[in-house]
Symmetry: D5
Subunit: 153 residues, 10 copies
Amino acid sequence: MDMIATTMTREDVTAMIIQAKKQGGLTWEGIAESIGMSPVWTHSAAMGMNAMPSDKADALVSTLGLAPEASAILQESPTKIWEQTVPTDPCIYRFYEIVGVYGPTLKALIHEKFGDGIMSAIDFDMTVSRVENPKGDRVKVEMSGKYLAYNCW
Amino acid sequence: MDMIATTMTREDVTAMIIQAKKQGGLTWEGIAESIGMSPVWTHSAAMGMNAMPSDKADALVSTLGLAPEASAILQESPTKIWEQTVPTDPCIYRFYEIVGVYGPTLKALIHEKFGDGIMSAIDFDMTVSRVENPKGDRVKVEMSGKYLAYNCW
Amino acid sequence: MDMIATTMTREDVTAMIIQAKKQGGLTWEGIAESIGMSPVWTHSAAMGMNAMPSDKADALVSTLGLAPEASAILQESPTKIWEQTVPTDPCIYRFYEIVGVYGPTLKALIHEKFGDGIMSAIDFDMTVSRVENPKGDRVKVEMSGKYLAYNCW
Amino acid sequence: MDMIATTMTREDVTAMIIQAKKQGGLTWEGIAESIGMSPVWTHSAAMGMNAMPSDKADALVSTLGLAPEASAILQESPTKIWEQTVPTDPCIYRFYEIVGVYGPTLKALIHEKFGDGIMSAIDFDMTVSRVENPKGDRVKVEMSGKYLAYNCW
Amino acid sequence: MDMIATTMTREDVTAMIIQAKKQGGLTWEGIAESIGMSPVWTHSAAMGMNAMPSDKADALVSTLGLAPEASAILQESPTKIWEQTVPTDPCIYRFYEIVGVYGPTLKALIHEKFGDGIMSAIDFDMTVSRVENPKGDRVKVEMSGKYLAYNCW
Amino acid sequence: MDMIATTMTREDVTAMIIQAKKQGGLTWEGIAESIGMSPVWTHSAAMGMNAMPSDKADALVSTLGLAPEASAILQESPTKIWEQTVPTDPCIYRFYEIVGVYGPTLKALIHEKFGDGIMSAIDFDMTVSRVENPKGDRVKVEMSGKYLAYNCW
Amino acid sequence: MDMIATTMTREDVTAMIIQAKKQGGLTWEGIAESIGMSPVWTHSAAMGMNAMPSDKADALVSTLGLAPEASAILQESPTKIWEQTVPTDPCIYRFYEIVGVYGPTLKALIHEKFGDGIMSAIDFDMTVSRVENPKGDRVKVEMSGKYLAYNCW
Amino acid sequence: MDMIATTMTREDVTAMIIQAKKQGGLTWEGIAESIGMSPVWTHSAAMGMNAMPSDKADALVSTLGLAPEASAILQESPTKIWEQTVPTDPCIYRFYEIVGVYGPTLKALIHEKFGDGIMSAIDFDMTVSRVENPKGDRVKVEMSGKYLAYNCW
Amino acid sequence: MDMIATTMTREDVTAMIIQAKKQGGLTWEGIAESIGMSPVWTHSAAMGMNAMPSDKADALVSTLGLAPEASAILQESPTKIWEQTVPTDPCIYRFYEIVGVYGPTLKALIHEKFGDGIMSAIDFDMTVSRVENPKGDRVKVEMSGKYLAYNCW
Amino acid sequence: MDMIATTMTREDVTAMIIQAKKQGGLTWEGIAESIGMSPVWTHSAAMGMNAMPSDKADALVSTLGLAPEASAILQESPTKIWEQTVPTDPCIYRFYEIVGVYGPTLKALIHEKFGDGIMSAIDFDMTVSRVENPKGDRVKVEMSGKYLAYNCW
């Protein structure tokens, strides 16, 4: 089965990106800038949680000096899998907790402002930034998703 | 056990608030404004997911014409419980999905911008707003939480 | 807490609809026709899994002779909850099984025909019909949902 | 244990098919057409979720230039396993959500149109197609399964 | 909500059947015989796990002297729910264990005798009997279900 | 750790049996006959879900031409493990469904015919056969287990 | 549904036994002795985890002065249900822990002493006693269950 | 990482013990006797569920002719892990069932004989023996654990 | 079943204590002091997670003016149940997180300081205190449990 | 993929630390002292549950004679994962049990002493020590975390 064993996988590409980032002393912000995209989306696509358009995949391969066949893999539609129903990492868990505590509130206010519907997680973008504050700097997360109304038929 | 049966519970207070809101034709935005707080926090405290300072609890009781003993209950430190590990309501699920898909990205960018630590979900605030867009209006969610660095000792 | 105890709930409205349907010897198809909507959507809204526009809610109340306050409840944005992660009823389980067996196929073909994205379950409609067949009649289920492309930003 | 290590598995065959599809720049629709079957069934059998009749297995091996012993493996009755009780991939999750939200409706309407029974997921077929729409193209999924009545004995 | 509170439910009918059986000193075998059906099916329908044809429902109501409105309820298509994913009662658990230990064997032998398909659990019947044996009497369970072949399309 | 790496495991023996069966074009029924046992038990022991007496293990090794050390492994008392609490394969799931739907019925009828106790899943045997039927052939499964009465002490 | 509401349940009988035990200042050991059975079995049957033969049920009713209809209920074959897959009470958890830590050891030694089989949990008895010990008294639990050999057929 | 790859693990030591036992035609009882410990404890420590004192570890290494570095590993404090919350192997499951059925009884009798507390699973020992019986030999399991009273402070 | 309905339960006693505490404007620290015990233990026993010695139960009844029969209930050995395997309340979750992150460290250091064993959670006490700190006051939790060595036998 | 295969991982570094500790006959207390940190934090960082500042990572590498590239890995922000929702190891389980039994008490007393908020698990430190006691030495665990008040906005 040699033919199969030598095929490059998404996990390989992710590992190569992380290694290139370390060796080049790069940041996600820098990598994102070099391909003209946002850091959130760039990191997410590098981790295999989003597919890249071909020009962005080529740009990433070129920027980081990856093997050329990595570009095709970065363009594939990934199957998004997370293993932990409740994430254990404290940094990620806090966001899970926010969904648990404020989920009904998000639903109520979307309903109040828009009607019966949801915020899309597909036609969606997000930024993370640092806000200086004398009592301790704050993490700011801004999410924006298209409002989708329930259909009646 | 009559003495116990007649005690007002948090669930009673939540139900009374929802009924008063309906009967008065109010909005969460309006209720929040009348007590000088944000809509997210006001809805959350009304649902029993946050405790109110005494002046805010009194203001809510007065605004909505609730029974006076409701104020003390609104000031209690609630035990925050959500029954569904994975929320089934589509509107809330989408936020769960965002945590699953973008959780590792949030962690990586917080690390890049701040160091090894987390965004607090306690020293935390959030807003929900509507952004007009010719391709369809968008839901904007802004979260802000204090950065907490891991301790070394 | 008398004030609260006498409030009508969604469960009450669902029960009243089912009772009126039985007593009137009605069908879902007939009820749907009388309010000018599809049977799938009508049953779903009657069960509390979709919100009704006000004219349709009024029409249903009038058709079935429900208490007038039921209309407001039918218009509320419901919190959609299903208790069983894996449904045990054999009729519903078969659809769960189809998602398990053919889920990756649905994903692959949506990808092939549209690109990286999903079928919306919100901007969505569905019909159920009976197709005569000499080897045994068949159930036909047709789903239609708007294609949503993943955002790149 | 060399004898065992060199045995071809279903996972190997699936990997070989995907590799041949990539290298040949093929589509599932094209592969299906070349063996005279539907794209849904063809993809599903290629993924190891359905068994192929011998002529179709031979045709696939020939079309894609696979190793000859792959044909026998494609004809085996596969054990259908999905790891995730609740699928995390957003594209597949939406179908799970549809089963959760509309499962009781599907049951009620099958009952109304046929009597007490189910739609078979075995004597079953499905198509996926793209429907143009000025408000955004739509995914259309058509399922057809034999009605099976419960036995009384 | 008086109208609703007095509605008879399936749980009520099941409870009435059990009470009538106790008071009359009856057996499931005897009840089944009096309505001309098998004991397995009769018990299952009495527990709300199968729907009765109208003549059998009327016969049961008449035999046991139930309230007349029970007949309509016995004819409804029940939603089959079992709460325990793994049954704890030792008598039921042993059957779960048999499925765990011999499930792959049942699959392999059905495949060998019929081809790629399943035994239907809908077009299905079952008997339970006692077989005398000098080493200790034995429980005999006989299941019969229609073979369903997977569809290719 | 070479010494360990070359030890034959149960998984190896199962794989060798399946390979020998394929290469010899054998059936489970034929293999069972050649060692003088039933097909259900033979398949189950081959899969590592039952231990073989030494003469049967030797007979199987001889019939299939397995490596001689496989006999000792076939005689070991296996630890019976199934990974899926709810089996996903449709053929096996149908039996799980039967336990869910008819479990309480099996319990009630065993109680009625024997008293308070269970059917043993250890002192147990089972057959699978094909029954011709003009409406479609049927799978017949016959289980027989010793009745065990609960002890009182 | 008055007829149903006044039916005595197993939970009622258990509650009546506990109340009678408290009011009479009795012990389980004393109650067991008065009906001529062991304390383990007596407590278990009183909790609804075992069925009583009629003479023992009558004796318990007489000893504790229960309502006469309790005897029939104590003789019913109970459905044994425990809610917690992993028990949280520390006293019960320790036994669960023993099964986790020593389960494979129990299996290995039963195999060594008897052959391939199990210890019955049905033809089973158990005692609990106190053993004085200068370093702190010890709980002694003795279990005895019939050995059951796996069947070969 | 060669240095790491050649390190002996607990799993290696367990595998070596099992291999030595097979090759020597030994029993757990015999091995236990040769190191002057009980069979339950000896098997448990060999499986990595208990740590051995150094003299016993040396004795085991010497008795079975294991590699000398195995002794240090046998003396390590193991992390006790069992993968299955509910064990599937029938022999082990029966003990889980006993905890489910009789857990509340064990708690009640410990309370009656000692007061509010538990039986330790740490300061604990256990034996397994065979008791001849004309109706079928019985497995006898004797557990002894120190009583620990809850602290009040 | 009037006799049963009027029996006081642990839940009643807990509710009465909370009500008395509120009405009297008391603190857990004050209540604990008045019965001469620690706040942690007093709260825990009041919640039904520990049993009280008779003098402490009488003291609590007298201090809070509870109904006299509450004393006997406070002395019963409670069955300790927590519903949430993973606690959702953020204040309690943080302690769960500490066990997840530092559990292996606690084990390693107990092993290093004592040998192979555990810290008892039964012969155990705990205090909670407030420590002033210019960067923000700190919660201090001190746990003390008897070391228990694993038995070798 | 050779480039990837030779990359050092966190698991490798943890394994190297454990091996160096064994070979050097060191203790966690000794290692901690040599880098000027506490044993709890040092062990936790060595296990990959905390990130090290660069000077401490270099000190550890130097003290234990690790490969130089280990230092960079020890400084990375680790993703904290624990596999077992309920830990099975008895030593760790006891701490889980304490959270289950005393969690509501910890919450109530933090509320009483500070107000509505939590103890941080991030700005957190812990010590483990041995306290001599004539009745048996005790494990003392001291936790200290910054109090964080819920935000109102």
